[in-house]
């Protein structure tokens, strides 16, 4: 049985969308003999620090990523309904390969908030990806991403064009992502299933010699957690559990599956499992802990170091201090 590790995982930090507790998630990964695990929350990296330190504690390799909201223009925040405009947000998975990648991920994620905040969605665009892609791994992501959406909407040329853009930029670090969840036979009533999309993706992968990875869009740890997760969605969308037309996930498949389950699911494309290990090897071990960084205090003229200036201020201050200096009692003891 080939090894496998999860590269598409949401945690509680996907605010009311993910239900996985980081520790519980990691414990399961360890129990199942997985070597590492990725963090890909929606639009943010709130959990990154905790994720990395919990992984390091357990000897797991933490792969820090983010499932971004990708839009045409991150600055566009006014949409005219009359003209039929709306905010088309595609999902986009990016993983940090190394320290530089992590810094770029952090920057992209920050700029998503600073430049691209719209409603509750921090958004980035391709202009930013172009600028900050060094050290990052990109995938074709889930059904909500650019390439799968083009396939879904019956636009194979567009899908191919999009793929070329990512491939040109990321080369070896771009992967086609396959997901298999139940009850996605007729997505958005378009008569297309997730597996249909997968088959198209596989064709594209062959044509452009892009490697394929298998993932599971994990939003909770165990299958039985799907109903609490469903309630979380209700809290998020402020709807009642009994409502028919509310937002919900298609099935209870969105959990952190075991290697065996993933192997069974992708038995026909075993290399998609192997490739997750390739990414594992590619990603350098991260450690986000560092000594405290001091602000770049601008030194006045005449002082070589901050220490000199501090000494100066201290002695000046001591002159002003009114209390007569005397040795503290405990020294003389």
């Amino acid at each position: 049985m080939p090894d496998f590790l999860h590269l598409h995982c949401h945690t509680q930090y996907s605010l009311l969308d993910g239900a996985s507790d980081i520790k519980a998630l990691m414990d399961k990964a360890v129990r199942d003999g997985q070597k590492g695990v990725a963090l890909t929350d929606h639009g943010n990296m709130f959990g990154a620090f905790k994720f990395v330190s919990e992984a390091n504690k357990r000897g797991l390799k933490a792969i820090v990523g983010c499932e971004f909201y990708l839009v045409e223009d991150r600055h566009k925040k006014v949409f005219s309904r009359a003209k039929g405009e709306q905010d088309h947000r595609y999902h986009q998975l990016l993983l940090a390969k190394n320290k530089q990648g992590y810094e770029n991920l952090s920057r992209l994620c920050s700029l998503g908030f600073i430049d691209g905040m719209y409603g509750k969605f921090p958004r980035i665009d391709k202009e930013l990806v172009l600028k900050h892609h060094e050290g990052l791994i990109a995938t074709s992501c889930c059904i909500g991403a650019e390439i799968p959406q083009a396939i879904l909407r019956g636009k194979p040329e567009l899908a191919e064009e999009k793929l070329r853009w990512w491939l040109d930029l990321f080369g070896e670090d771009f992967y086609i992502e396959l997901q298999r969840h139940r009850n996605m036979e007729n997505i958005d009533d378009l008569g297309v299933s997730q597996e249909d999309v997968n088959q198209q993706l596989l064709l594209l992968a062959e044509k452009y010699k892009v490697k394929v990875i298998a993932t599971n869009d994990a939003h909770y740890v165990d299958e039985e957690d799907s109903s609490p997760h469903d309630i979380l969605l209700c809290i998020n969308t402020n709807s009642l559990l009994e409502e028919k037309d509310r937002f919900r996930f298609p099935s209870s498949d969105f959990y952190f599956k075991t290697q065996q389950e993933m192997n069974r699911l992708f038995a026909d494309v075993p290399h998609s499992l192997d490739t997750t290990l390739e990414i594992y090897d590619k990603v350098e071990k991260l450690n986000l802990e560092r000594d405290v960084l001091l602000p770049a205090f601008p030194l006045p003229k005449g002082f070589a170091t901050q220490g000199d200036f501090l000494r100066h201020l201290t002695f000046e201050g001591a002159k002003r201090a009114t209390a007569p200096l005397r040795l503290p009692r405990y020294r003389s003891a």
């Binding site: 700029l111 802990e289 560092r290 960084l293 602000p295 205090f297």
Partner: protein, 825 residues
Amino acid sequence: MQDFTTTARQMGVAVGPGRGSAAGSAVAYCLGITNVDPIKYDLLFERFLNPERVSMPDIDIDFDDEGRDKVINYVVEKYGRNQVAQIVTYGTMAAKLSLRDVGRVMNIPLSEVDKVAKSFPNHLEATLKKVLAKEGIDPGLKEKLNSDEIERANQFRKIAEAKTDIGQMIQTAAKLEGSVRNTGIHACGVVITPDDITKYVPVSTAKDSDLLVTQFDNSVAENAGLLKMDFLGLRTLTIIRDAVRMIEETRGVKIDVDEIPLDDELTYQLFQRGETNAIFQYESSGMQKYLKDLSPTKFQDLIAMNALYRPGPLAYIPSFVARSHGREPISYDLPEMEEYLAETYGITVYQEQVMLLSQKLAGFTKGQADALRKGMGKKKKDIIDAMYAKFIEGGTANKHPKDKLDKIWKDWEAFASYAFNKSHSTCYALVAFQTAYLKAHYPAEFMASVLTHSKNDISKVTFFLKECKRMGQEVLGPNVNESASDFSVNKKGQIRFGLSALKGVGEGPVEEIMKERQENGHFASVFDLIRRLQMGAINKKVVESLVLGGGLDCFEEIDRAQYFAPSDKYETFIEHLLKYGQAYHGQLASAVSSLFGEASESMIPEPVLPPFSPWPLMDKLNREKEVTGIYISGHPLDDYRAEIEAHTTCNLEEIENFIGKEVKVAGIVMKAQHRISKKGTGYGQFTLQDFAGSLDFPLFSEDYQKYKSLLEEGQCVFMRGIYQQRAYSEEMQFKINEVTLLETTSNKLTQSVTLQIPLEAISEEMIEQVDDICLRHKGQHKLKVVIVDRSSQLTLALSSKARKVHADNEFIVEVEKMGLACKLN
């Protein structure tokens, strides 16, 4: 940090003396980061930094809460918007929130959800997961619950196990407990990075802040390399700052609170009398009691009280007090300990003392001493055990007997976890001393500032107004010719209500009124006011509020009720006034363009005052309360408070407990409605109100005739009677046996007055003072004195043959001001 505190002071932002261990650093003192001289107070540097404590030290600084933002803006300007950020907080779903959220989604009635949520044990550490743990209540939690709470927890488990919607709700809530629901911003933390912050840590934005917000929270920020500083806003500093400003304005005295003498006699007297309402950290009633017992005479005492007055060490206060007065012997396990424990009378109050003693007795290094302090404070058994061996070894090497060392260690283990950070207490005692100094020397300005900064909380305003009354500090209602926007002090040293305290009077009108007054002097009449203010500066609502709040009472020729009486063709005189203003300003405008402008001013006559009937007192007061939120001129019953307390059976809220028994009650008649029945006899419906509640009751036939003249609206009365059910009716009635006016009978009710005088308080000066008060209040009440010796629990009752006094409210206030308890009999 030095840069921020220095700049803040330059910008006129008040900077606190610091908080926490930074006060132990002489360098921090020289730099002005803290105002506490660590050498003077024997504070320890190693509590702040030492070789064994390699983490970044925390420096928390208080700024006045209004100036804090200015300092943060300075930081942002200095380092750039992209190098400064606030810190995120994650809002998680705690047990009860989780239950409510899940209950709502499952469409379970709120009342049932509430019932479940309320049945959950209230302990801080109780979580759904712990209470519902598979093998039974989490043992760690169970240990901390009392039997009552364990019972609740067991009940809760039962409900959760049921195969019902409620059971499912609880199970789901347990699963979701701890989920991150939303994010917020840490109240005071600010981080600064050497260059663009996104290089080091992802950031986000928040709706209610212009600053960036880190995506990592406070618990990991430091490990992620972020230098975190806490910029706290402290209202007390704002109060001090504004009081100092007012003192300069009204008296021309410039005070630097950092320079006030810490041996100021008047300030200590205030602490000794326990008159510490509005004194930072010393205002609770328990603290006041202990202050009276202790009678502090030096700053060290105040530091110790700040450290002792918290749960746990509280138990040592009586001993501390007794030792300070020499009623309890002070002993040391080893004579060497005296050096460090003498200042607290042999009681270990500070962590610093444990640290110093461990060094002296057992040769601990400063680092080890700090580690010991930490270990004991956090009850880390492994650290304590390791330190114990070292302590015994070092102690015996210093030739101390082992049994003594063991005892010392045991004592430390028992209460060192209570010991407090002396640096922190010193800082806060200093702030407290500053406020007490201002209260003692400049009571009007200080209380005006306190009132201003409590204005958003009516109950606090009421509380501090009472305090003013107790202090003999006059507080006057608003006045357009004298009031500022906030509470202020006039030339006579009286506190004036601010105009902004009036509902419906916004900043705009207040500014206009004050500006015009400053430029052209007092307003001579309400017409003058209307003429001089720009049209549009005030509207009907503003004038109404000014009238009702008493802001226009300075124009004595017009009564408050008169403003609301119909005038000419207008519904009220206020409308008439405004119309007059409009016409006046209209003419003025056209006159500007006319050559004969000058002559036109007298062409519009001032409106004639309309006839009116005055409002009953209670009406007037209630309307006043409507716009100010309180009875500014005081509750009418205030003058009889002591008599009511001494001579009634119960207050009107408690009367339900005395049905069928004769009770004595007192109150003010709020409503008196007089009617004629079908039979042609008169009857009435009355409402009596006291400080606690109100009572509605009817009076019929004879009783009605007998008492109706006394039960007039606004009268303060004393009633004796039975509260009972009316015959053949559900209704309750008050069967009156006697009604008297408080004004005339309150004196007759009182037979004597007892003063309670602690033995240690007796001095020649004190006796003279009491005598003086009695002479000024001669009357018919007997004077009794009880002398109390607290140490031996003995009391001695005396009664005066020579003196009789008139024990009215004024008398009581004066006696209580001396710090003596006083009771009417």
